[in-house]
């Protein structure tokens, strides 16, 4: 296998390099929410295998914003202290255009062959204007979580289309009554909402370059109608990712959209008691009519500081972090979704995370959000318009035409 040769060479080189030169200290930056305790043993092992290299972890704030603020301060000052940093997949193009992330192609040799064993979503998300600006660290996607027990009770299959989902949600809601939500999604002005909208757009055959298309109207219309018909809560425009998770976990949701982290919570690994343990299923998102299912690529990636003074050593570390062994360990110990295809059928991974098998077809088809240096603006436009439409303070048509007006110049 190609990958093995590359890795062996990398390791051999690492040994040789380590012996030849004096100690190199690589500074790695990640957010404190990224559980440094999972990463620390991995780095420790790398240090043992590469005697010339010392790795120092620096942790930033716990939110994507706080980390971004720190990295922006440091990199705008052209600081070389950090060698590699973990960034949200949506930041690739911004960091690339700003000249902060070093393109990796020239360091990797035969890029195409090497990258073939990776999932296409995270690789596409890390690629900007033909260059690879980061190595995927772990991936994520939005999934349809559903209550197996409720579908069984009403003898309904897992919905394949949004139309079916509406019918199924209506039936369950009518039967269960009370505070049962038929369908739950994120409508607050956050990234999850951007993804929910893009998924609605993509699964209707639409594209972000034209958000006044019939597919866009159908997609945003679906979310808005879901609130109007009370399948989704009246306050959906205020629901954030973790609100969705908590409400599902409390047993109040029949079907809902969420990222992979929710699974562990539903199974009881959570500060909140779970009412749904063993009764949760995960599936690909439904689509409109005959269209294909689609979902958003999430997750994080390792980028190399363009101002780093240890680029060769840093690239080796990046490749190590996306190697099969490290990816397996992260999946087993931290339930991180691997970026390599083969691990979704890996016995060690599946023993601990049997649900990864059913996640595989979904993450395989995951698509990145628009890869543009202006993504922060793009995201803001989409999330604010969508949230306003879901809140009912803008009509679907007004929200979409505002969005088109503002997105147009940015996505040219």
């Amino acid at each position: 296998m190609n990958i093995r040769t590359v890795l062996t060479t990398a390791l051999a080189l690492a040994f040789a390099g380590g012996a030849a030169q004096a100690a190199t200290t690589l500074t790695v930056f990640m957010g404190s929410q990224q559980r440094p305790e999972v990463f620390q043993p991995i780095f420790d092992r790398y240090q043992q295998a590469n005697p010339g290299v010392t790795i120092k972890i620096e942790t930033g704030g716990a939110t994507s914003e706080a980390q971004n603020q720190y990295l922006t301060t440091v990199l705008a000052a052209r600081d070389s202290t950090l060698d590699i940093f973990l960034i949200d997949v949506v930041r690739t193009a911004t960091f690339g255009a700003a000249g902060w992330a070093e393109p990796l192609n020239s360091y990797l040799g035969s890029t195409d062959a090497y990258l073939k064993s990776f999932l296409p979503g995270p690789i596409n998300a890390a690629t900007y204007s033909g260059k690879l600006y980061a190595m995927p660290a772990f991936t994520d996607a939005q999934f349809l979580y559903y209550r197996k027990d409720l579908l069984a009770k009403y003898k309904l299959p897992v919905p394949k289309t949004w139309e079916e989902l509406t019918a199924t949600a209506t039936k369950i809601q009518a039967g269960e009554g009370g505070s049962m939500q038929g369908f739950n999604f994120q409508g607050a002005p956050i990234e999850g909402t951007v993804c929910n909208f893009l998924e609605m757009l993509w699964t209707g055959g639409g594209n972000v370059s034209d958000v006044t298309s019939p597919a866009a109207k159908q997609g945003l219309g679906f979310l808005v109608n879901s609130v109007k018909s009370k399948l989704s809560p009246a306050a959906s425009a205020e629901i954030k990712t973790d609100d969705s998770r908590q409400q599902f976990q409390a047993g109040n949701v029949a079907m809902g959209l969420n990222w992979s982290y929710a699974w562990a919570h539903f199974q009881g690994n959570s500060p909140q008691p779970t009412m749904v343990k063993g009764n949760v299923g995960v599936a690909a998102l439904p689509a409109f009519g005959q269209n294909a299912s689609a979902t958003c690529t999430g997750g994080w990636e390792w980028a190399m500081n363009a101002y780093s003074t240890h680029k060769k050593e840093s690239v080796k570390l990046l490749q190590y972090m996306s190697s099969i062994n490290v990816q397996r360990e992260m999946a087993v110990k931290g339930a991180y979704l691997p970026v390599r295809k083969s691990l979704y059928s890996d016995p060690a991974v599946l023993t601990v995370n049997p649900h990864f098998k059913s996640l595989y077809p979904v993450v395989l088809k995951a698509r990145p959000r628009p890869v543009t240096p202006n993504y922060p603006r793009v995201s803001e436009i989409i999330r604010n318009s969508v949230s306003a439409a879901v809140a009912g303070s803008k009509t679907v048509d007004a929200a979409l035409s505002d969005m088109q007006r503002d997105l147009g110049p940015l996505l040219k």
Binding site: N68, P189, E238, P373, N384, K394
Partner: protein
Amino acid sequence: MTSRSVRRRSRESSESRLALLLMLPAAVLLCGVLLFPMLTTLRDSLYLNKLTEPWLKGFVGLKQYGQLIHDPRFLQALRNTLFFGVLTVGGSFLVGIPMALAAHTPSRVRGLARVALLLPWAMPPVISGLIFAWLFNAQYGVFNDILYRLGFIQEPLRWLSTPGLAVVAMVITIVWKTSSFVALIVLGGLQGIPRELTEAAEVDGATRVQGFFRVLLPLLAPSLAVAFIFRAISAIQVFDIPYTFIQQAPAQGLLETLGVYIYRTSIEFLDFGYGAALSVALFAISLAITAVYVRFVRDGSTS
């Protein structure tokens, strides 16, 4: 230290020298730490420096200031900032002065009252906005719960996703957070006023309310002026609470203040040139307000 002052009186001259000496450490600290970054920002505002379009570079003079006038988002943020400024500065005085009086009044719970006066201010500001956003939550927020239990509402109000209500929620949050500042300065002022003065007013037969307006308020004027100017400056710069709120409530751009717009432009959109121009514009607005204030204070104190 000019020749004129030397000629006039030697006492004045030695006083001036002493004054300069006394002001020197503060001047060194201010200039040493803040002057260089401020001048850097001023220079940056004259250059294009937008990292998302890195090919746009170079000296453009005042062009980015010209851009401000045609930037609808800047104008909206300016309007929002002034609107919130008037409401929250006014609000923090209306709430803060009675707070100080209540905390100054001798009573069995005065210790507790003083802690209450400090608490809103001492709570971490990054979290305060989140706490209030939660209290205003539509589904399980405390404010809806109270209104519901009291029978004022049948259906929960969607505070954050209804633009008008989001504005109200943010004003309440900022007033809650900033009244402590006013109250603290006023409380300090009250403690500096000899009790005899207020008692004299009472002996003269003035009612308490008259006494407050005729005796206390004029004596508090210097403290109030200081509280006002710094409240005004911080209201113009207000950032953390609006930044928290816009992540919960788009409110059609009504909650975006200049401070938030500057942060987004520089830190999130990576347009450091335009961000610098926005900062200088905000600085100029603050300066204009201060100039008015200084005139007011000078007229008040020398007459």
